[in-house]
């Protein structure tokens, strides 16, 4: 007799029994011990038919292929740049992935990206040893100049972006700031000093309230109150 012992979207802690019997399957973040399926990390349950998986809620960023991330240039070597990804592993940005310009042998690479510069890059490959390759060729991938940077939990990034970018689009519309959200939990913004502060305040509010229902409406009301503008939801 198999049964699932938890509800959908319930918080569970490591070692908690999620299901009994052999009819259910352990998904991501769970493991099987004998007849039982147990949680292998702290997370939110997600029951999909017979499979139970856990959605991670906290922790450091783990690099994944095709993620767009905001990185800082750490070091420069012969063939390119070593950049910090806000995770346990640094990434390699090779010369040919950095720019379509022709770079002469022995050229000074600091004229493209200098130490301490921030760039928006996309992960092209992650190996089993977590060696990361990134590219700067693609829409929206560029060097960040000016503005300011804040760090958020990487597991809240989907809520900050919203469905098809609706949430970040709304903040942009309300504040007239340029905003880039990296999957690795770094958020860059540029605009007037006051509106940058408002963006940060809004993002902190999203972070704190992301698990409560009706988030978009609340953020919309909050932004309308702060700016006095009427906002259209879903516009980008």
């Amino acid at each position: 007799m198999s049964k699932i012992l938890v509800k959908n979207k319930e918080i569970v802690v490591p070692g908690e029994v999620l299901a009994e019997g052999m009819d259910n399957l352990p998904g991501l973040g769970t493991y099987r011990a004998g007849e039982q399926i147990l949680a292998a990390r702290l997370g939110l349950t997600y029951i999909d038919g017979r499979t139970i998986k856990l959605i991670q809620l906290s922790g450091r960023y783990t690099p994944k292929k095709n993620d767009t991330i905001i990185c800082k240039v750490m070091d420069i070597n012969f063939s390119g740049w070593r950049i910090d990804t806000n995770s346990a592993y640094s990434a390699m940005l090779s010369m040919r992935e950095a720019t379509s310009d022709y770079i002469q042998k022995g050229a000074d690479l600091t004229q493209y990206y200098n130490l301490g510069d921030y760039v928006v890059a996309q992960i092209t490959n992650v190996t089993s040893q977590n060696l990361i390759d990134v590219t700067m060729k693609g829409p929206g991938l560029h060097k960040l100049q000016g503005g300011r940077m804040i760090e958020v939990s990487p597991y809240k990034v989907p809520r900050i972006i919203g469905k098809q970018g609706s949430m970040v689009g709304m903040i942009k519309q309300a504040t007239d700031c340029r905003i880039t959200v990296g999957q690795n939990g770094r958020v860059w913004m540029q605009g007037g000093a006051d509106s940058e502060l408002l963006v940060e305040k809004t993002i902190r509010k999203i972070e704190a309230e992301s698990h409560l229902a009706g988030l978009t409406e609340r953020i919309q009301k909050f932004l309308e109150k702060e700016t006095g503008k009427k906002l259209e939801v879903g516009s980008r």
Partner: protein
């Protein structure tokens, strides 16, 4: 002379007042504090993060580093001095060995997970409070773990077997005393820490371990509740 009643009036199988909270250090990837009466342990987890010097790196899995430290004002006596000591080094090591069996760091080759355990106030049972706090902090850091670890000290005071000794019991001079800190994986009942200091019989040791296991199961529920409290309902404050 028999030990009829505990010096602070607790039952023989009763622990001191327990308090646990998760998410107490904002900048850390995971954090918690745990209190056994006047023994107060903070744990903060950083990582997985880059590990240097490079010769420490393990290409097959991430490594765990634990650091146990009693703050210089945490208690009186000659064991409390600023900086590390042989004692703190040993406790750091046993803490690491108590936590490693539940952790799975194979996803993070060449990296390190740092656990810092700081004790602002101590009065016996500090390593067990440290392990409890560290295990909650590791779970809060979102790491893969097959279970939490719960830890308590048991022991013998004169003719009685007791759980969670405080300082007055550890230094009881009306008869023999033994102090046994232990840590357990609640789900499987496996012990990951078992140390002993003092004198006791084989039967007393068995009885003490059974009592400790029972107490660990109670602790597990408290740890579980503290972890859920951070995420359910309330904000992340």
């Amino acid at each position: 002379m028999a030990y009829k009643k505990r010096l602070d009036g607790r039952k023989f199988d009763e622990m001191r007042k327990i308090e646990a909270k998760v998410g107490v250090i904002k900048k850390a990837d995971g954090s918690a504090y745990f209190k056994f009466g006047n023994t107060w342990a903070y744990a903060a987890v950083y990582g997985p993060r880059e590990l240097y010097p490079r010769f420490l790196q393990d290409p097959s899995k991430g490594i765990l580093r634990c650091n146990y430290n009693m703050m210089p004002f945490s208690s009186k006596g000659n064991r409390v001095r600023p900086g590390g000591s042989r004692r703190s080094k040993e406790i750091s090591m046993v803490t690491k060995k108590a936590l490693l069996p539940v952790l799975d760091l194979t996803d993070y080759p060449n990296s390190v997970v740092d656990v810092f355990i700081e004790l602002p106030e101590t009065e016996a049972g500090s390593r067990t409070a440290g392990i409890n706090a560290a295990s909650m902090a590791l779970a809060d850091a979102g790491l893969l773990m097959k279970d939490l670890v719960s830890s308590v000290s048991v022991g013998r005071v004169d003719d009685k077997v007791v759980v969670d000794l405080d300082y007055s019991e550890e230094s009881y001079d009306g008869g023999p005393v033994a102090d046994i800190p232990l840590a357990m994986i609640p789900k499987s009942g496996e012990l990951t820490l078992l140390q002993m200091d003092g004198l006791l019989t084989k039967e007393q040791l068995k009885e003490a371990i059974e009592m400790g296991k029972k107490a660990c199961n109670e602790l597990y529920e408290i740890q579980k509740k503290a972890l859920k409290d951070k995420y359910v309902g309330g904000s992340n404050e």
